[in-house]
């Protein structure tokens, strides 16, 4: 799932906290996916999810960040070793004004591909499933037509200054990166632990999910959310046209609730996003792997995601869970019997049931899964 939604979530909290929160989320996700290669700043220091560690981000790692920040300059990409070095600096050190700045040497294929792999892996976050949940929250973040983001660091900024002067935000971010001491910095850092904590706890036990939602709502409402004129830079004609089509498509979108026995809260899926049972099944697997496997982000092993998905798949196709739906008549049916189009026409809600509860359906579930496999 695309990590940018993380950034979006951060936007709901403040521009500077994007920088801070994403940094901490970065640590957490690195831990979650166990992939350190993409950490260009060598932030593999955050190797465990730990509140003390997170808050220490504000002190130790901030310094690391700052030092690395001043170190990073354009370098000679071809000269870097192609191995997966945790401290791989794609941009080698050097002075800003040195010439030549960026001679593009023909690089070894290995470098390019590791670069690419690095980039790709850099986006696999352990939070992919929690990211799904943000799409709902996103709905409440972007209620107006104009794109909203925080131009300023702290919530105390006035709307006018947020709208116009982006300089405070730049200054804020620059402050963080270049270790210029200022009062703003203190404010920035303060926000990090609490937000990061919320993120973490949501990931681990999911119970704070609703808290997160409400706290997010609370913080977003009073926070100075400036509507920036003319952003994003899209022709008004296009914006207006898409708005109309979106509204039309909204009616077409088919969101249904999905519950799972034992999960503390429900999810929603848009059935129009899928065209086969397989796709729906995979999506649900991703969504609910958290609850089945246990705590996200508690392991450091690579390929954790794959483990959980296949395990859940087995669970769903095996004997522990079955996927059922409530149809227009209010009956609970096994998913998969009828053609897809017919299914989405009649499906009112979904439920991932324990097979033990779905006694009458279980044998057919086994058959169905055998056929599918």
């Amino acid at each position: 799932m695309s990590p940018p939604l993380l950034g979006v979530e951060g936007e709901g909290q403040g521009n500077v906290s994007i920088v801070a929160a994403s940094a901490s989320m970065d640590c957490i996700s690195q831990n979650g996916s166990g992939l350190k290669e993409h950490n260009y700043l060598g932030l593999s220091d955050c190797s465990s999810v730990d509140s003390s560690r997170v808050s220490s981000l504000s002190d130790d790692n901030k310094n690391n960040l700052n030092m690395k920040a001043t170190e990073l300059r354009l370098g000679l990409p071809g000269s870097q070793s192609p191995e997966r070095d945790p401290d791989l600096n794609l941009l080698s050190s050097g002075k800003l004004d040195e010439k030549p700045l960026f001679p593009l040497l023909p690089s070894k294929d290995g470098f390019c591909s590791s670069l690419q792999k690095t980039i790709v892996s850099g986006n696999k976050r352990g939070f992919s499933d929690t990211v799904d949940g943000f799409s709902e929250m996103k709905g409440c973040v972007y209620t107006e037509g104009n794109w909203m983001f925080h131009g300023a660091g702290s919530d105390s900024e006035t709307p006018e200054s947020v709208g116009q002067g982006k300089f405070p935000s730049n200054a804020g971010i620059n402050v963080m990166l270049t270790s210029r001491p200022s009062g703003a910095q203190a404010t920035i850092m303060k926000e990090v632990p609490s937000k990061a904590l919320q993120e973490r706890s949501r990931a681990t036990n999911g119970t704070s999910g609703n808290e997160m939602k409400t706290s997010n709502n609370n913080s977003s409402a009073p926070a100075a959310k400036a509507q920036v004129v003319g952003w994003p830079p899209i022709r008004s004609f296009r914006k207006n046209t898409l708005a109309t089509t979106s509204k039309n498509n909204k009616e077409v979108a088919l969101f249904v609730k999905v519950s799972m026995d034992g999960a503390p809260y429900l999810r929603k899926v848009d059935l129009r996003m899928y065209s086969t049972y397989q796709e729906l099944s995979s999506a649900l697997e991703k969504m609910f792997s958290c609850f089945t496997i246990g705590q996200c982000g508690s392991h450091g092993a690579p390929g954790r995601e794959m483990l959980s998905e296949s395990k859940l798949r087995d669970l769903l196709h095996g004997s522990e869970y079955v996927l059922t739906y409530e149809d227009k008549d209010g009956d609970w049916m096994l998913v998969g019997d009828v053609p897809w189009e017919m299914f989405i026409d009649s499906c009112k809600r979904l439920k991932i049931m324990k097979s033990s509860d779905a006694i009458g359906l279980a044998p057919r579930a086994m058959e169905k899964s055998k056929n599918r496999d």
Binding site: S2, G7, A69, Q164, R235, F237
Partner: protein, 566 residues
């Protein structure tokens, strides 16, 4: 040169591709007949005609580019009427008119349609001010009309029957594009029009044209090269749909496809046949196609050179594009999720995949949630042929999320690698450093768009000093002030225009430029409730919006109250 027949001259001048050369030639050659005016206020219609009395094709651009994003108030200017009036009075033999970001009234369309007997081609892009009545005038009166091309205009629907106004004798249409119209059209008139215009090669319908009409049209016009589908909703089990399928199969010439303003994804199978030959595909308004349907469609388009899509294609979808569309030259990815519906978006991953799979890529517009330096560096390496590179991170000051660094180095790589880069738009967290790179390496750069970037005047100065071919510079919400503005005012006469809004420039700075450079118009847009000019506005006050441009004809006389020409 007057003894050369015009056709030969035409051919000769086609080889003059640089504006400078063309400009030079036009000074001596009065037979010049195709004129491009990038800023309608740089010259007057009278002087144009005096210099090019035989002009037959005119292209005019009005409002500054940032007007597209609501940064320019409604009645700022850019009226085409005076141009048409003057040309009409002088008896010009105008055949083609192309307008971009201009205000076009129904009166001007009416006058246009009546004044030029041989008028053949009208292209309106991002214009406003007219209604379907104006279109009716064009349809009724332009007897030899070949092209009516309306792209993304705001047109008021008057519920007239403008399409029916094409007389039965009109058989000359080659290109008709009314996709941007919001209202209904007379479907019978449309079918009849298509039937009698055997030379029709380009047809783009609006959302009001249903699938069964499309089917009938395609039967009549199987030689279409460019097709824009309006509404594509039907029951795939119906006879109409089957008829459509067979009609489409006969349309073997279609190379460009667009529209799908309303779409039932299950009907898409019918067009897979066309996809095989497509070189251009625009699905940027097809919000109803996403997920697997979209990807399935793309998989059929192996010959695409131009692709415009919405970001709901996702990074994975872009991966499919990368592996399928090896000939891709131009890619535009627009944001779909303006209203929080929750579709997938794209990140740097998708762009890197594209760059790896499509080495011929030379033009990019990419809206994404995030970008990294590493990705940009890779893209620069994979695609050194960029001439247009426009990147927009939806949060305009977002740093590289992996390293937390500004995106200076990434864009630096782009300008260094892409030696032919002519147009660049930047977003993300950016310091003065990126402008240093641009000044150093972007030797061919003609247009630069800056938003929420830079730290100090140095940034802007790097660009002004370094980019020798710079024509248009537009800056918003960046900390550039009077020092940057005033250091080299002579530079602005070598450029078409400079836009600065929400920067640090003060009224005094702008006044200084105006004083030093009489051949520039320095316009200030002040929309706030302010005291009148006479009541001495503080020169130290920052200017909201400044737009300056070189001109041969001094301050314009049609400026509204809120525009002060200094």
């Amino acid at each position: 040169m007057n003894y050369f027949p015009e056709e030969v001259l035409e051919h000769v001048f086609d080889f003059l591709t640089s504006d400078r050369d063309r400009n030079a030639v036009s000074l001596v050659c009065q037979s010049w007949y195709r004129v491009f005016i990038g800023n309608c206020y740089a010259i007057s219609a009278e002087r144009l005609i005096a210099r090019f009395p035989r002009v037959r094709s005119l292209t005019l651009k009005g409002k500054p580019h940032f007007a597209d994003f609501n940064l320019v108030p409604h009645d700022w200017g850019g009226f085409v009427y005076p141009w048409i009036e003057t040309m009409a009075k002088s008896g010009l033999n105008l055949e083609e008119l192309r307008l971009k970001r201009m205000v076009v009234s129904d009166d001007s369309l009416e006058l246009l349609s009546r004044s030029f007997v041989n008028f053949k081609s009208l292209v309106l892009v991002s214009c406003e001010g007219f209604t379907t009545d104006g279109l009716a005038a064009i349809a009724s009166n332009c007897r030899f009309l070949r092209e009516l091309d309306l792209q993304e205009n705001e047109v008021e629907d008057r519920r007239g029957q403008w399409l029916s106004c094409f007389p039965d004798s009109c058989t000359s249409l080659v290109s008709l594009n009314f996709a941007c119209l919001k209202g209904e059209v007379n479907l019978v008139a449309l079918e009849r029009l298509v039937t009698r215009c055997c030379n029709l090669r380009s047809l783009r319908l609006n959302h009001a044209v249903p699938l069964d009409t499309l089917q009938k049209i395609l039967v009549q016009a199987p030689h279409l090269v460019d097709l824009g589908i309006g509404s594509y909703v039907h029951d795939p089990d119906s006879e109409t749909y089957h008829k459509l399928k067979s009609a489409i199969q006969k349309c073997t010439s279609v190379r460009s496809l667009s529209g799908f303003l309303e779409v039932a994804p299950r009907c898409l199978a019918a067009i897979y046949q066309i996809c095989l030959n497509l070189t251009s595909l625009n699905l940027s308004y097809a919000a109803g196609i996403h997920g697997t349907e979209l990807i399935k469609l793309i998989r059929h388009c192996g010959r695409l050179q131009r692709l415009w899509i919405l970001d709901c294609i996702g990074d994975k979808g872009l991966g499919v594009v990368a592996s399928t569309c090896k000939e891709l030259q131009e890619l535009r990815v627009f944001p779909s999720d303006l209203y929080g519906v929750g579709h997938a978006a794209v990140t740097e991953e998708g762009l890197v995949a594209i760059s790896a799979g499509c080495p011929k890529l030379n033009s990019l517009l990419y809206f994404c949630h995030q970008m990294t330096n590493a990705a940009l560096i890779t893209v620069a390496k994979n695609c050194p042929n960029f001439t247009r590179f426009r990147l927009c991170t939806l949060n305009p000051t977002k740093p590289d999320p992996v390293t937390m660094q500004p995106l200076d180095d990434g864009f630096g790589a782009i300008v260094q690698s892409c030696k032919g880069l002519r147009r660049l738009s930047l977003t993300g967290l950016l310091t003065d450093q990126v402008f240093l790179y641009i000044g150093m390496y972007a030797e061919q750069l003609e247009m630069l768009s800056v938003a929420f970037a830079g730290d100090s005047d140095e940034g802007m100065l790097y660009v002004l000093n370094g980019c020798k071919k710079l024509k248009k510079l537009e800056i918003r919400d960046s900390p550039f002030g009077n020092v940057a503005l005033l250091t080299d005012v002579g530079k602005y006469e070598t450029m078409r225009s400079l836009w600065m809004s929400s920067c640090e420039v003060t009224l005094e700075g702008c006044k200084t430029v105006a004083k030093l450079m009489p051949r520039l118009n320095v316009e200030i847009i002040n929309e706030s409730e302010q005291v009148e000019v006479e009541a001495s506005p503080d020169d130290r006050q920052k200017v909201e919006k400044m737009y300056l441009y070189r001109t041969l004809v001094g301050p314009r006389r049609d400026a509204p109250d809120f525009v002060w020409t200094l």
